[in-house]
Symmetry: D3
Subunit: 337 residues, 6 copies
């Protein structure tokens, strides 16, 4: 926690307020809602900061006490919020019921017309923001939110290229956000600029047009083929593929792989079967931990094991953010070996 | 939620206040109690209304703020409480500790001398109440509560017969309520008037004198034999048999069957093994969903699958009432197929 | 609670979700929000039902579990929700911090683009809805929410006129909702159709163009002059004027007057100085109690005393709705006399 | 907290479960109830133990986990529960809503048919129980609960007389418990055996037939006259008179006096005006503190000041029991001097 | 709950305040901590009292409201706290995060410089305390806390020997408390005086120097060999060995054995696999139940089954103390047979 | 919230964990504690950041999850925690009961042997830390905590002098921390280096030896005389004097004055009488707001009014930190004018 000299990972995306009933209750069974703050890219930033890394999250929020609370929450997690802009609109909300056992998770989105979605895309001085950054990370969620956010991503990637900051892109396919639109034109353009591409097989197919096996979960050879195709087609140095098997609302299988294009090699991490506390943010926590390790030049197979273990732990933690330190992950890894 | 023109199911029974310690705690480990409202027949009414049906619950409560809260709770669930009468006595209470894993559920009843139990049985104008009703439903719990409630049931069944409203009877065997008394004389008389009879094998034996296999769980053939015997002896068109296997305080097996006397055929639904949130009200939610489907003329095997799935979901929901909509059940059914 | 034969008061307006931090905390000081349901006209309906009256609330909500909870809450309070329509959009939200002592209440609205605001105004069959109604009640809040809601009000008033249902209009001036627009053209047109007009002096001035004294609180003579002017200009049989003095976030003065145009007489109720629990819904609870008494043909001065006492009690109750029965108000009135 | 050698005060009475909604909410506004344990004489025992004294509470409870919790709670407060008997019946309950400001406290009793009320009165071996006791204390609440409890009181007083244990009697008039009965015959008989008599002017009149001024609050001279009359008529060495002025649900005036029959002198304590947290148990905490001081041979005026201060503090403490130590009272007394 | 005439078990050890985040949350994810009171030997005393036995706990606490709460908690559980001494220092604290599924339990100790650890060891009059006691019980935790506590244990054992009170010693190995010190010299000296010795194989090895198999869990034959060695070397009449298998943070295996030196026989209890609520206090609850049964002269194999079942139940109960009655254990035992 | 270019205020002091029972309860009446983070100087930093200023807090904490939570909390409030050092020891704790009405606040300290108190004082590189700082702020609390912290203050002041960073010193007299020691030698030495001195009259007398009137509250003339004396004797440019009048546990009077030595003028702010939510941190919030305004070159009388209003608001906010923005204070100020 000394003054940071490490290069930060810069993330870009919306910060959402999650509202959940207590425990396994149904919505409004009690007159209280538990609040959490999250968002695909924000979770990456917060997860990185928890591990001990440097992260700066760029977003646009309205000027309200609700938005101030979002900033406070991310800052508490250790994320630099110095580049946040304020604009017109609301704070996006999603209502989430966790389910229990056979009863599935249920989400009601209320994120339309957020200040983030209503940005022009010209609000940020990316040259200044990305100066000295280790990575720029964004996901398909931001790309889906509208012309403004997409434009902002393009500007960010232009600046990243100019500054030689490598780009990380998590496909993060959310059908509801793309309703009636084909993600491929937008996402393929972004994938071409990414050094690290992350996605599950379904997202690779729908968002990038990569042929996948279509079985679930896909066997490692099939994953490798898809990853290789993606790396070749979009010129990505690394393609990470995560796979979640939903056994029940309370138990998930979880595994991840990384394909190294230069070495033409794929690594597969240990598979975890996890008694769930909170299924949100598993993929984001994986990306956070992978970037954390890559930045430290940890060897790819080790980085992958670390990232998969970190994200397995995430599934046991309430909220969108992976509240684990590097030591927590190391302890866990040594206990399962 | 438009103004109802569908014929309602009319239920009759006590509404009880459940008081439970938080989570898996033991009684008074914390100085708070969680409140729920329920009662065997009230749960059927509320479950029906949650699914989207019309239900009217008939009961007798004292004139107190506690009783008003019972009315409010049922009304919130969508049940018509316009036929509730007020009388002298208290609101029945039961204290329930959920247990956890190997530690079993523990109940302390405090329902003696309730206003419901102290009714004369002549308080209700059943001709008016049952006018246009789709079903009249009652259970062995009400029959056990005393002469007044039993008399009220007889009056209700007289009116139902006169109005051609079919009768549904859930045996609902609670040994504590029949202490020292043989349920058979009272229950056999009611069973003879029921079109739909619901019970588990033990209740069929103890309350109606039907020979059952005595194994647990009973194999389908044995269930069929018992159901056939019951249908024949009491002239019921349908006999539904539910079976719960208590694997631990946290995990139950759950299955149901329906015997169709006219077709001389028994249908068995998919068996569920459920990670429990709340074991109360499983059978009631099954009846609610079955009546909901029968009223819509859904084919018996489909109605049974729906009802079994609905009641499996109930076991994952806190409280006595099955807080699921028809859409929730459909979603769940399509996920397990 | 027997089946209603009394003519219901029909109200029209948005139902909002209120989210508040626990007790006197600031927003997000704890990660929980207390939920309440309310809305100017919905509060009138719920307050009426609590007192023992019949009320039917007409609104338009999206088709979501959040909206279902709104219906359930109102229904629990005893309001008929059988005329609710479903449409596209969200459930309006407002975040409310109660303040404490010298620290004032703070509200952040998040109600834009609600399903209610996005209605066309042609969704309701007012002839059917208002058939047999005792009153139609609406407020300036609904008028402010957009062309659709305003159009719906006009349709409702047309039907009310045709069915001889008297109209009650609460001005309910909320500057934020009229930002940049002059309420007078819209509100004067509605006032002309109202039999009962309710407002505070400021609202009379800004929304109807009535000259008021401009002091705070206004002396009874000034109130009388304004009320007389309003009655004359818009042809209202009764004009009720409420006045709140904010002594601190925890203590308010509260008084009400009614001008009877036919008798050319103004009545003033006892003034209350109230240690506050929740300042929201004071005016709505006054209207609820006044309509409740007028419908029972209680003499105007007594109806006014009752309504003022009921609304004084409201300020001691958490939430938007006045959870008091007629007996509660009578007990309170007899204790202060 | 060393092993007790001080003579204990023995109290006799029912232990009740209090159920209250959170904070100032109305019943069942939230689905939780706060639990407290109390009862007029039990509160005296617990208050004494908190101050540092020795107290043993005698009661009869059912054999249930709910009753076990009552024992545990009293024992935690430091009361010896070694003489508790078990019997048939339930644990008495009362529902209490605290009110707020202008809204008054509201109580719904549910104590009928408790195991305590159903005792025969012969369950206790008073000779053994009272051996070595400093005082025997009981109140009019126990006398009102039925023939069995009254009979037990008579047996206890017989034993107390035989063992020279002085008797303390708090009139504790609760109209609901005496409904339709004249308390005088029963209470006068008990008063004749009491060495210390405690009551407010209304109770002296209704329960003992003593003429009182009938104003509220009564002036000291009037209190003195009533106390003198009571002392003379019933032969009590000391008569304590407490007076509560209910300014609002949140603010009470509180004062106490003691008349010393031997010295023919009345002492009046400082009057407190108290911002209330919980109005229950004020009188009981006064008795507890008075007995505590009398047993320590503190001079009567000082004992009275201490007891009045202790009971003023009680009104700021949630629950039936006065959770203050002797040091807390001393600190408070020195701060107000 | 009648006045005790049974000889009490006297325990000696620190009472600690446990602070835990709600449910499965991480530390300070919410701004509340759940409090529990415990301590190895205090848990034995409280567990014994819950079962229905007599227990007296000897400890030293500071003179503060926090320490008073510790006394109140233990007393509520039924433990005699009449021999507690007060001294200088603080109340020891430990922060405990329960973990969930794959995420392990995490403890942060803050018990240094407690009043207990700072005792001289001469504060207690053991002759008086142990007069008439059934057992004296202590554990290796107290021995590890410093010279003062160790000296107190020696004094207690001297008095126990003089009074013919048998001694029970639970090894309770906590590496953090012995950091840098060899427990053997201190613990071997204590073991030589113990009639009943309890430990797991690891503790036997590290604290007493007994050779064990070193596998996990150890097979019964290996356990028997170790127990026999310990009995022989230290002259203990009985050696109990408990074994916990940590399957996940939520599931543990649990088994116990007792070696009877006189009979040269080892008994092994049924093995339980437990879905955990709280892993703390399992061993303590085993000792409590074993002593409870031994004192009642229950045959050793039955006592062992009872104690193992009681401690299996403990793992399903929140907090350090086993809140089960003898009836709860009997019910559980009959359900698993 | 853009990247800071404003010079930060650097504060130095311990961060403590506050543990409080819910609402107005007594300790451990419920088994939960509310947590807050604070500390005299940390509160200044957090208050400044809430207002919109830049603050960096320097402290020494152990390396534990508890300490990490302290860092997270301060960071969430907007304080730069980049200069925090880790060391050996514990996190200081204080238990606080808020009291209610006549019942006073009660505190039990448990802060001995904290990592902060055990520092050597040489852990910080003040030259680097204070480079570019606007102010260095410390209080008498840190000076009292031991030789290490005092040494660190001396080093910090040396660096501040060398870098021309003005020094602010809040006397903050806490008798318990100086027990048996005369604060004057230590505090006079620090006062001589302070540009801004803050204290109440009692602290000026006890810690600096300044003669004060000794009445309570002191009249403005007396305050002026004391402030003038202090300014003259220690060469402080400004002396601020705050005065709190404790009317009850729920109501305090609050006023502040500033003496400007150069102008030989004293300014007195409006006096507030505040209904309290939390009395902790009033003085700290005053200092925070005063520094915030001085740094912005606001005129002294306006800065004083702002700071007094900000600290009056603090007393209505739960916790140690003043959670108000500059806009909140401005709104409040405009409402009271």
């Amino acid at each position: 926690m000394s003054t940071a000299t490490v290069a930060p990972v810069v993330t870009f995306g919306e910060v959402l307020l999650r509202l959940s009933p207590p425990g396994t209750e149904r919505f409004f069974q009690s007159p209280t809602l538990r609040t959490f703050w999250g968002g695909a890219e924000a979770n990456v930033a917060a997860g990185l900061a928890w591990l001990g890394g440097q992260a700066s999250h760029v977003t646009l929020l309205p000027d309200s006490p609700i938005a101030d609370a979002a900033v406070r929450a991310m800052r508490g997690d250790g994320v630099n919020m110095g580049h946040v802009q304020r604009g017109v609109g609301r704070v996006g909300i999603y209502f989430l019921e966790s389910g229990a056992g056979a009863r599935p998770l249920a989400v009601t989105y209320d994120r339309a017309d957020s200040a983030f979605a209503r940005m022009t895309g010209d609000e940020f001085d990316w040259r200044q923001i990305l100066q000295g950054a280790a990575w720029f990370h964004v996901s398909g969620v931001s790309a889906a939110l509208g012309d403004g956010p997409y434009r902002a991503i393009q500007h960010a990637m232009d600046a990243a290229d100019a500054l030689n900051v490598p780009i990380s892109l998590d496909l993060n396919y959310r059908p509801a956000l793309w309703a009636g639109r084909d993600p491929k034109p937008l996402m393929q353009a972004l994938a071409k600029r990414a050094s690290l591409l992350i996605g599950n097989p379904g997202a690779l197919q729908v968002m990038l047009g990569i042929d996948t096996a279509g079985t679930w979960p896909e066997p490692p050879e099939a994953v490798r083929t898809s990853a290789e195709l993606a790396a070749a087609q979009f010129g990505c140095a690394h393609v990470a593929v995560t796979q979640r098997e939903i056994i029940s609302a309370s138990e998930h299988g979880w595994q991840a792989h990384v394909y190294d294009a230069a070495a033409r090699q794929m690594y597969s991490a240990r598979r975890y079967q996890i008694e769930l506390v909170d299924r949100v943010g598993g993929g984001d926590s994986f990306v956070a931990a992978l970037l954390y390790q890559l930045q430290r030049s940890v060897a790819l197979p080790d980085a992958l094991e670390f990232a998969t273990a970190a994200s397995a732990l995430k599934l046991t933690i309430a909220g969108d953010v992976n509240r684990v330190t590097e030591r927590d992950v190391a302890t866990f890894l040594s206990s399962v070996k």
